[in-house]
């Protein structure tokens, strides 16, 4: 499948061929050939020859020993005859299926017969006309250059092929490598096109190749301008070569070149670079850089001195300059080019940037259109950035919300929260080892990860945190101890290598909006998951008895306790809830990141930041914090795409400064609830 397409990509054909190809393919229905025509067409050959055979016999040598230069002649001749079998012949010739009988030089297709024999098939009628031993017939093997030419001549006819797949193939071939000759056949094929999708593609492709091969300047400019809102890469690929520039210079006004802009040395172009251009063309003296002068000094060492200065003294630039100027006086080195002489030399010339394409209207239109595309691309990048930020924010939200709830209710920071995320991810991995169906395993893993992480959280609360009530700093360190222990246990159990958590196939791929904006389905799924949990938590906290009690304990545990709420029970349940959500976040994160024992660590600091920035004990605060941090990170990355480390650094510095202005986070508890 691929080979003919690739061959077609190197098309060298002539436009008349394409026109004729359409005629002949239009006549494909009338397959039978009358014998009389043959006689008229080739009177000097025996009447037994078919019309195509006759043409080929005329060009017998060119067919048998086809070369890239001569093959056009044969194709032209075949096309000129407008024979329906001509196309079949060209295809099979290109596929090395043409044979030549050595006895009389006639061409045949063959089929395998008994033993060493081959069945001869007439190239005109397609009927078997006898058998021949393999030794008496030669297979023709045109080289790849020839096959390329043949394939390209076929593209035009393929554009009108009844099979849509073939038509698409032809379009693929043109897209890969367009030629001037494709323009007309493509235009002609649009009208008869019935498939609307292919028709749209053809129309678009026509505009793309008109940019490069349009006959008049106006048609090209029109085609160029039509792409001003187009984001696809092929349009830009067609436009970019038009605005390629090179730097040149001239004495006086530049002539005979399509100047993009003139360059002022020292401003648009560095003086050294401009001077280098002159030196390269031997229009100025090279002795400019220190290295050049040093080379001259080294070449002139005589008896331990250079220009009268002892070598041992040449350890300062000043002494070297002195030695060099005496060399210049002796005429052994070119004069040193000072800044003044360089400026004087540069002033003699006008430096400019010129387009490679000499047509000024086209290049201006192309430059303007590219500008407009760039703007549009920028707009779309921004949109894409918003989507990225949203996706990152939803990940941070999932990772941090559990932390925020426990922090709000109990006033303790759980350093092992990252390890609960890790537990969730490993749960997903283990479930996938047991249940091979990815869809089912994810559906099982999500609740299971919640249960296991919640159980771990409750255990931690019961065994450690409860005993450290009112000592928040020590809780922080104790949970850190749990964190390193859990991490190492995971490392010992699962090994240090990353474990895959494969997403079901319906989450593969991305939702492609255009060539710039695309969102992977996994990220959409995580976004949905975050939304679901946001809604769920809002409901639980604001509409249920448990939520009421949790809020009461958050605001004032002692008062809540005197109202008959058991803070111990609430602490345990909130801790379980928060840890369980971390487990769910772990499954989600594991789907796009590799599952390692350090997985939790990668998210824990960002989760802390989210909680600190968003404010404690409030789902809306966490949402605000996650959104802010997610967007901030993406925006900084946008301005400095090559350096994600720097992005994180700046983000953390920004957060430290932000805390200055809102020490309690974006959404702070107010009034008595805010009391420590």
């Amino acid at each position: 499948m691929l080979r003919p397409i690739l061959i077609a990509a190197f098309l060298i054909a002539t436009s008349p061929i394409f026109a004729l190809a359409q005629d002949s393919s239009a006549e494909t229905g009338a397959a039978s050939v009358s014998e009389e025509v043959i006689v008229d067409a080739t009177p000097e050959t025996p009447t037994a020859l078919g019309p195509l055979q006759a043409i080929l016999q005329e060009h017998r040598n060119e067919v048998a020993k086809a070369s890239r230069r001569t093959v056009d002649e044969v194709i032209d001749a075949v096309r000129a005859a407008k024979l329906p079998q001509g196309l079949t012949f060209l295809e099979r010739w290109g596929d090395r299926e043409l044979w030549q009988r050595e006895e009389d030089g006639l061409f045949f297709f063959t089929e395998k017969a008994d033993g060493q024999d081959l069945t001869l098939i007439d190239i005109d009628t397609g009927e078997a006309v006898g058998t021949i031993s393999k030794g008496d017939i030669k297979q023709l093997k045109p080289n790849s250059g020839v096959r390329t030419v043949i394939a390209s001549s076929l593209v035009a006819s393929q554009l009108e092929d009844p099979d849509p797949a073939r038509r698409r193939q032809a379009l693929d071939a043109i897209e890969r490598r367009a030629e001037k000759e494709h323009l007309e056949p493509l235009r002609a094929s649009i009208e008869t096109e019935e498939d609307p999708a292919i028709k749209a593609r053809k129309e678009r492709l026509l505009r793309v190749i008109t940019i490069s091969f349009g006959q008049t300047t106006e048609t090209r400019v029109d085609a160029i301008r039509s792409f001003s809102q187009d984001l696809s890469l092929d349009a830009r690929a067609a436009l970019n070569p038009l605005v390629v520039t090179r730097i040149g210079y001239s004495e006086g006004e530049p002539e005979g070149v399509n100047v993009a802009r003139t360059l002022t040395p020292g401003k648009d172009i560095s003086r050294e670079v401009a001077y280098k251009l002159l030196v390269d063309d031997e229009k100025a003296i090279a002795a400019r850089t220190r290295a050049e002068r040093k080379a001259a000094l080294e070449a002139n060492i005589e008896d331990g001195t250079v220009g009268g200065v002892p070598v041992s003294e040449l350890s300062s630039q000043e002494a070297r300059d002195r030695a060099y100027s005496s060399l210049v006086d002796e005429g052994k080195a070119p004069p040193f080019v000072t800044d003044e002489t360089m400026d004087a030399e540069l002033a003699k010339y006008t430096f400019y940037e010129a387009y490679a394409d000499s047509n000024a209207e086209v290049t201006t239109a192309a430059a303007e259109t590219l500008d407009s595309i760039d703007q549009y691309v920028g707009l779309n990048r921004f949109f894409s950035l918003v989507l990225d930020g949203l996706s990152l924010a939803s990940i941070y939200f999932l990772a941090a919300i559990g932390l925020a709830i426990t922090f709000g209710v109990m006033g303790v920071i759980n350093m092992a929260h990252g390890e609960f995320i890790m537990i969730g991810a490993y749960t997903g991995y283990v479930v996938q080892q047991i249940i091979p169906n990815y869809t089912v395993s994810i559906l099982v893993a999500l609740p299971l990860a919640f249960v296991i992480a919640a159980a771990a959280g409750i255990a931690l609360e019961r065994l450690v945190i409860r005993h450290l009530a009112s000592r928040p700093l020590e809780t922080l360190l104790a949970t850190f101890g749990v964190s390193i222990a859990l991490q190492q246990i995971a490392k010992n159990v699962f090994g240090t290598q990353a474990r895959p958590l494969t997403s079901p196939s319906w989450l593969d791929g991305a939702w492609v909006i255009n060539d710039v904006v695309a969102v992977s389905y996994i990220r959409i799924a995580i976004f949905v998951l975050a939304l679901v949990f946001f809604a769920l938590l809002l409901f639980v906290l604001n509409r249920t008895r448990l939520g009421l009690e949790v809020r009461a304990v958050t605001q004032n545990p002692r008062m809540a306790s005197s109202m008959g709420i058991n803070p111990d029970r609430i602490n345990m349940l909130t801790f379980g809830l928060g840890s369980g959500i971390a487990g769910i976040a772990g499954v989600a994160i594991g789907l796009f990141a590799k599952v390692t024992s350090e997985l939790g660590q990668a998210y824990i600091v960002q989760s802390f930041m989210t909680v600190v920035v968003g404010g404690v004990g409030n789902i809306w605060g966490t949402l605000a914090g996650a959104t802010m941090i997610g967007f901030l990170q993406k925006v900084i990355e946008f301005f400095n795409p090559s350096n994600t480390l720097a992005a994180q650094t700046y983000m953390i510095i920004f957060i430290i400064i932000f805390i200055q202005f809102r020490p309690k986070g974006i959404i702070a508890l107010k009034g008595r609830a805010a009391g420590d």
Binding site: S315, L473, T649, I656
Partner: protein, 389 residues
Amino acid sequence: MKNTFLARNPSVLVFILLLAVITLLATVFSEAYGTGLLPTNYVKILGKTLCLCLIAIAMDLVWGYCGILSLGHFAFFGLGGYMIGMWLMYARTEDIVIASMTNAALPPTPDEVRDAIGTQIFGVVGGSDVPLVWSFAHSLPIQLALVVLVPGLLALVFGWLAFRSRVTGVYLSILTQAMTLALSLYLFQNDSGLRGNNGLSGLQNIPGLTDAPQSVLSIWFMWGSALALGLGYVFAAWMVSGKFGNVVKAIRDDEARIRFLGYSVEAYKLFIFTVTAVIAAIAGAIYYPQAGIVNPAEIAPIASIYLAVWVAIGGRGRLYGAVIGAALVSLLSSWFTGGQAPDLPLGFYTVQWVDWWQVLLGLSFVLVTLFAPRGIAGMFDRLVRKDAA
């Protein structure tokens, strides 16, 4: 005055005495000056441990006495190492470059030497220019001053920002951790001018002392570390035992009440934070020439948390507790992870300490926080008091 100071801090004399004895013993058994019973490697470990004890004292001052759980002091430690490392690396490379240029046709100019040093040092991160931050790397006195100034200034600015907005407790810990992470991420970049994740290396070679073997240098550095630790201990003891120390401890116990009494809590906190950062930086500047390499991974937040772990296990609020914790945990840690510890066969499973040491450390940390909140020193105190009673 002297008498009263010692009377209030009986541990100082004991500590100095023990320190001197240990250092002397190590010298007597060393390869360079003694019987050779103690390999140079162990001398280096001892010297490094003394530096870690010094930073543990700093951590104890800021956390145990002032109640600020800083998760950023190891960043100051690392920065101190970077500052001294810049001079060590630059001066050594300069020696090498000049030596290699003696055979050139022309004697090198200062600019050429600088360019060659740049290529030599920054070749690994694809640079050849000497970055701006290395402007003073040729001068030992300036870099020594920077050891104090850079971390001190960072602590001052960060502390001022944090304390003036009354960030306290867990929030402050998280914020210091963020600062540490930001610094280490910044240093991880290649264009930070400090060789990215390669860090600074070859620091064990002291320029100008190339003839001295490592066995001799290690002893000198051990004495240097011991001296710094002794001075640091006395300084810390002096600080916490006077009126100043009382205010600081009061801030730890009830910050609001001290503020109402008219003390400028923020100024005290800022002072303690900055001074301990400087102590940490000095400890780092002595540590890294013995370690030989400093890189951003050393500054990662986890290191600062370990520091807190040492102090907690040793016992907060007691200077000797911090020293005991740092020495014990760091030495045990290198013993267990170094593969010297014998495996523990349980019949069904053989515990390999390289794998399980972290688990043991984590769990013992939880146990210490739960059951011995005053750490090893606390248990020690209880014993002493029982004897007295």
